[in-house]
Amino acid sequence: MRLQSIPLLKGRLRSERFGGLIFCMEPLRILMINHTGYEILSEVDGVTSIEKIVTRISQKYSLSEKVIRKDISEFFHFLADEGLLVWEYK
């Protein structure tokens, strides 16, 4: 996964009191995520690169980009394994 890649969520995202829900028809999946996961996925719009998402989140929470990059990478790989996220390098 390159930092310049553009992530794209398959399915739809909804905010919930506990964080959020991802609902995907194909493959049929429902996944609960916490507030952090929801915050990150709210930045996934089909245009913004992973690098920009990392920068925005790290600035918002005043945490190092290195830490955020690792968390987001793990999160995105988890979602990709579930068939819920793809990314493309342009």
Binding site: R14, M32, N34
Partner: protein, 364 residues
């Protein structure tokens, strides 16, 4: 602003979506019973459809306003059922509006009114799937239950038209005394038609299904000892040909929810049903005329408030039975909400009478 949480795992409690601490802001899916009109007179119809057509059903505009609400609440999926949805002249108008609002749609139909043009329109509008019924592999078996001559042929044609236009079809087969002898034949027949999914479901003791329950139902003991082993065998035999589904099988439950976050019964927790008159119920099985199960009416109350605050929904989401403590089936959450209501006469009146751990064998 919440501080940044490093963990990206699930919440700390055992997650059961739609229950306890994890109540949802909106349903994941809603079943809209758009009409009670029906061209068939099935002996097991849980909604008594096709008899009384004098109900004051919601108008086109009223349904569209409700679709707006569901869209605002970010409901993901709508099932259109009834009655037979295609009996309503404005069905395609309402469905197209729903798709325009970005909500996924599935049609629940008896398939008898679907010709090539209707199948094409369903596909074009954006239905992702049609669910129909095939309770027999011959006209005799099928029409014994459906009570309308010629309905078998028309159902088959409906399935073929859907498949021809590329619309996936799931077939439900309600198991009764009239057809359990033909499970293998029905499976083979569905496979040869090109259907990708067939689900064998139990008779619901609601509506005419309740009135005819003793005449039609196969007992719990018989289902477990004779029918379930056969279904398991067929599932293996037809692997990679047609997906054979059925109830009360732990392996299938796990496959359909690998993350183990869904309560086995989603009534009032992750989905609900709206009747043609606008009443909100936990699911389609519940009667329209028992006010203890009616959460509200969308013509009179805000649906958001009904979903989030109605006492009947709160009870369904937050009841824990002391007998269930320590049970390994956490997702069971007490059992099937309708079966409990039917058995005890009250919402969440006790543990599911079909509970596997008690070995109960009663009519529900």
């Amino acid at each position: 602003m919440k501080s940044f949480e490093r963990s990206i795992n699930y919440p700390s409690v055992y997650p059961l979506l739609g229950m306890y601490e994890l109540e949802l802001s909106a349903p994941i899916s809603v079943l809209i019973e758009i009409t009670r009109k029906c061209n068939l007179r099935c002996l097991h119809c849980f909604s008594n459809s096709g008899i009384d057509t004098s109900l004051k059903e919601l108008t086109t505009d009223e349904w569209k306003q409700f679709i707006d609400t569901l869209s605002d609440m970010k409901v993901f999926l709508i099932f259109f059922g009834g009655g037979e949805p295609l009996c309503r002249d404005d069905f395609f108008d309402i469905a197209a509006y729903t798709k325009m609002k970005g909500i996924e749609m599935c049609l629940l139909s008896n398939l008898t009114l679907i010709d090539y043009n209707i199948a094409s329109r369903l596909k074009e509008i954006g239905f992702y799937k049609v669910e129909g019924n095939l309770d027999g592999h011959t006209a005799e078996t099928y029409e014994n239950l459906r009570q309308v001559p010629g309905s078998f042929k028309r159902t088959i044609e409906g399935i073929q038209h859907c498949l021809k236009v590329g619309l996936p079809v799931r077939i439900n087969c309600t198991l009764t005394k009239l057809n359990y002898q033909f499970i293998e034949e029905i499976t083979e027949f569905a496979y040869n038609l090109g259907v990708t999914d067939i689900a064998f479901i139990r008779l619901i003791p609601a509506g005419r299904g309740d009135k005819n329950f003793d005449k039609l139902n196969i007992s719990e003991k018989f289902y477990r000892e004779r029918v379930l082993p056969l279904l398991r065998k067929l599932r293996i035999e037809y692997e990679n040909k047609i997906n054979v589904g059925y109830e009360q099988d732990e392996h299938i439950i796990i496959l359909s929810d690998p993350n183990k976050i869904m309560p086995w019964c989603g009534s009032g927790r992750i989905h609900c049903t709206i009747t043609p008159e606008g009443f909100v119920k936990p699911d389609h099985s519940f009667p329209d005329d028992d006010m203890q199960v009616i959460a509200g009416n969308i013509l009179k109350d805000s649906f958001i408030r009904i979903w989030q605050e109605a006492p009947v929904f709160k009870k369904i989401r937050n009841t824990v039975f002391s007998e269930c403590y320590g049970c390994r089936h956490v997702q069971c959450a007490g059992g099937d909400v309708y079966r409990i209501y039917h058995h005890y006469g009250v919402i969440m009146g006790g543990r599911d009478p079909r509970c596997e751990e008690t070995g109960n064998d009663n009519k529900t």
